[in-house]
Amino acid sequence: MSRAEEELRSIAGRLLEKKEVELVVGYEHHGRSVRPCFVSKPEEANRLVWNADCWFNLARYLRSLRDRRVGIVAKGCDGKTIVELLKENQLDRGSIVVIAVECNGVFKPFKYGLNRAERRLADYCRRCVTRVSPIADYVVKSDGQASQRENSVADGDASDWLSLFRKCLKCMACVKACPLCYCTECSIEGFKPDLVHRLRVPQELFTFHLTRALHMAGRCVECGACESACPVEIPLTRLYHELNEWFKENYGYAPGRSVNEAPPPLVFKEGWKG
């Protein structure tokens, strides 16, 4: 057990013991990886782990736990998600205790049918500069759990989006793993029949992905949950990153930095730029 894990468990245990929270959302061991877990008893806090396999964005669960006081283990991007959800009035800050863990990046998840067992930093983590959540009640310092981060865009060609989209199964894992995709009626899920029919594959895959990309533009915190969940390895975060870059260039705005920074579309005024 690392020092960071030890600290994390003691904070979670204390919060539960003092009944400051009803449950703590964190990660636990599962097979050769980790998975999300929900701890509600102080003595169970020792189930919590923290390592470079913790790619899943736990903020995904916060909306469904709105009516409870929840502690959450948050990487930088999980924290940025919480910031965005707060801005979009989806959460009540008072009912969330953020246990920020310093993050040096997570590994590309080890999944079925992979040839190499070698672990490498996820592409989206290479682009990320946020080590600690911008919103935190507790901060757990890292003890060097993961590898170095390069702060540079990963190589590999992702310009041929059409052929990447063609691989898509339209399983919706990207939508469902995304903590910011919370619309109860999703325009691309076929709730309103026929907008983008789930069966229309591959004809509407392009519409599907671009519709989603436009909805993520200026909102995506680039946590990589979509990309890591994807069974056919479409580097979706890179697409959303491009759109975020456009936002940054034109309006000087990046999602997730601060609760006080309003998204440009909400505060847009005539002639305003940057």
Binding site: G31, F56, K111, G113, M172, K176, A177, G190, L199, P231
Partner: protein, 341 residues
């Protein structure tokens, strides 16, 4: 489908020639490595196949049950267009026993009289499935539970097992026999030592896997009676309802249909659906017999482990481990098995 079992031996060199001749004479689909990941693709040269693979990310289900296919065309002037089905002839090489067993489950569902699915049937009849036994079961595999591997599956036409000096070849169907007949001078009669090695390998691997998870699967039907337990509620909390599990499952067969107009022809397509979709059971009136999240979550397991067995007399899971490994939230069907098995 009759089940023959003739056992032959193919030397390492013989296998190379077999592959080369096969690729030059037939449409061959085999596992190919792309970006560190294995997927089934058409190969033009024997060397393109990567036969040192754990398993493919996606199962070979789509060759039999495409994600989407047109099943009906109607011309308002000429009436219904009847187009002959065909052109599916191919050899699917290197299917793992679990994925091959999934085909025999699909047979019992989709070919069940009195209304067999002609599209599946036609593909099944035209595709020769050559399986390759597992030498080292993967971390998440549990095919032993359903006797779907690791050495021998139940839906393949030929089972290949690597043994010293070559491969043991089990001919499992007349389709398999037909393929072997084409290359008959490459095969030798299997000797006693080959069979002995095969037997040892099979029992060693099964023993190994049984030590990980060995359960009495007959008890799984009871799953249905104990649904209200907290277990599913707790697990369902983790599930993000992404349906990745059913899209990557070699058995999940549920489909939806869609009608549309294309160049003045009325079309009907059918394609994969998933019980994780909130629309799966919702009727136009808004009524939904399976409205709660927990029940939707339960259904996936109940369907595979008790509801398919009750209706079709075979389990709906082969233990390939894809859903366990690929689930972003770590939902694990093995925990259900351990609890109820």
């Amino acid at each position: 489908m009759e089940r023959l079992s003739r056992v032959l031996f193919l030397s390492e060199d013989g296998f190379k020639i077999f592959l080369e001749q096969l690729v030059s004479s037939k449409n061959v689909i085999a596992p190919v490595e792309t970006d560190g990941c294995f997927e089934f693709k058409t190969i033009k040269r024997a060397g393109e196949a990567s036969l040192n693979y754990s398993n493919t990310r996606l199962p070979p289900k789509r060759f039999f049950l495409p994600q989407r296919e047109v099943v009906f065309k109607h011309d308002p002037k000429k009436g219904t267009l009847h187009e002959p089905l065909g052109g599916f002839e191919m050899v699917l090489l290197g299917v793992r026993p679990c994925d091959a067993s999934a085909l025999s489950i699909l047979d019992s569902i989709l070919l069940k009289p009195p209304n067999p699915d002609p599209f599946y049937e036609s593909r099944r009849r035209s595709i020769t499935v050559v399986s390759l036994s597992c030498a080292k079961p993967g971390e998440e595999c549990f095919c032993n539970v359903f006797e779907a591997g690791p050495v021998r599956g139940s839906g393949e036409d030929i089972t290949l097992t690597r043994i010293t000096g070559g491969l043991l070849v089990e001919v499992r169907s007349s389709r398999g026999q037909a393929l072997v007949d084409v290359f008959k001078n490459l095969f030798e009669k299997a000797g006693a030592e080959h069979l002995e090695e095969y037997g040892e390998l099979s029992s060693r691997l099964t023993r190994e896997m049984n030590s990980r998870i060995g359960i009495a699967r007959e008890r799984l039907v009871r799953l249905e009676e104990t649904l209200d337990e907290g277990f599913f509620q707790k697990e369902a909390q983790r599930c993000v309802e992404c349906s990745l599990c059913s899209f990557t499952c070699p058995v999940c067969y549920c489909f939806d249909t869609e009608d549309y107009l294309e160049k003045n022809i009325y079309m009907r397509a059918k394609g994969w659906d998933t019980c994780a979709s909130p629309l799966f059971t919702r009727m136009a009136s808004g009524l939904d017999p399976r409205a709660s999240r927990v029940e939707m979550f339960c259904h996936r397991f109940c369907h595979k482990l008790s509801r398919i067995p009750l209706a079709f007399n075979s389990y709906g899971c082969v233990g390939c481990g894809r859903c366990v490994s690929l689930c972003p939230a770590g939902v694990d069907i093995r925990e259900v098995l351990k609890r109820w098995g």
